[in-house]
């Protein structure tokens, strides 16, 4: 019994060490979306390009979509824009934009100057859909399956590495199942 007690500190140190080691390298700012496995929230918002056209959640029916949340006030969105253009033009990815807490004039100038990778852009100046999606920092990119279900959320910039290592596997998986 006494002998065993001598090893107790070592045992405790080992357990604590293993628990703490498991946390190393995890990025605490990456949160899994609460919407994974749930449908895209209901919304009725204007189209950025045609203010008379109303868009709703049926936009996501029929094919796998990337929903990219962006705003002209967001510097990182500018960083990823070329990569989104590349995805849309070279890879033929179906991307829907969510213009988040922005104003129409700035957004249109931005798309005019940098190119428009989006099949459609939802105009959400008050951030209501963004809030329902749990968006806490642009840019964010959601993978949405052909039934309008949220399957994945990536927080941060999309680039070639993120596309190949993170988004593409999820999309392949979604297409395989759907």
């Amino acid at each position: 019994m006494k002998r065993f007690l001598l090893f107790l500190p070592l045992l405790i140190a080992l357990v604590v060490g293993i628990v703490l080691f498991a946390g190393i390298g995890k990025d605490p700012t990456r949160l899994e979306s609460a919407l994974v496995g749930k449908p895209v929230p209901e919304f009725i918002l204007k189209d950025l390009h045609n203010p008379e056209t109303m868009l709703d959640q049926s936009l996501f029916q029929g094919q796998v979509t990337l929903l990219n949340v962006w705003g002209t006030w967001c510097p990182a969105c500018k960083d990823e824009h070329d990569d989104l253009m590349w995805l849309a033009e070279e890879k033929g990815v179906n991307i829907i934009g969510l213009n988040y807490k922005d104003n129409r004039e700035d957004a249109l100038v931005w798309l005019d100057r940098l190119g428009d990778p989006y099949r459609k852009t939802i105009y959400d100046p008050r951030g209501t859909l963004g809030f329902d999606l749990g968006v806490y920092g642009a840019p964010e990119t959601f993978v949405i399956d052909a039934n309008g279900m949220v399957r994945f959320r990536h927080v941060g910039v999309v680039n070639e590495t993120v596309w190949e290592q993170t988004l593409l596997p999820v999309i392949n998986d979604v297409q395989g199942n759907g």
């Binding site: 605490p28 700012t29 949160l31 899994e32 979306s33 609460a34 919407l35 807490k101 951030g127 809030f131 329902d132 999606l133 749990g134 968006v135 806490y136 920092g137």
Partner: protein, 157 residues
């Protein structure tokens, strides 16, 4: 004329005061305001992760405060308000997580620590009680030595 100036100043003043804080909400009574303060103090900001939404100036916290206020006005219960935010932002926004299989250890740790401490204290007490009468701090031989040493000390050298 003076009256008009006072009137204008009186009208301007609330605007100045309101500009100081991020957002100003009206409450029907103190209890409601306290309830709002408690709610925003236990909700965590997803952007600035070690702050609650009461302290955070992040735009998302502002939006979350607005939703808490609006839902309160609409008569939602605390549970409903928290659930609706958890449904959007995940369990992460709770500073007080629900008790379930994943958070069990988290909640149980204080109890386990106290219980463990009590066990140790009880062990020490029981052992010293048991050992007490049979083995005094010094054996007879040691006691004799101590007495001798003390007696030597008293002698003037």
């Amino acid at each position: 004329m003076v009256r008009i100036i006072f009137l204008v100043l009186a009208l301007l003043l609330p605007g100045v005061a309101a500009a100081d804080v991020a957002d100003v909400y009206d409450f029907s009574d103190r209890a409601q305001e306290q309830r709002y303060q408690n709610l925003i103090a236990e909700l965590r900001c997803p952007k600035c992760q070690n702050q609650n939404i009461a302290d955070s100036n992040a735009p998302i916290s502002k939006d979350m405060r607005a939703v808490v206020y609006r839902m309160m006005k609409d008569g939602a219960s605390n549970e409903e308000i928290i659930e609706s935010l958890v449904g959007r932002f995940g369990e992460f926004v709770r500073y007080k997580p629900e008790l379930d299989s994943r958070t069990f250890l988290l909640w149980a740790t204080p109890a386990i620590a106290v219980f463990g401490g009590l066990l140790v204290v009880a062990g020490v007490v029981i052992r010293s009680r048991r050992a007490g009468p049979e083995s005094p701090a010094l054996s007879a031989e040691e006691k004799a030595r101590v007495d001798k040493m003390l007696a030597d000390e008293d002698k003037p050298s």
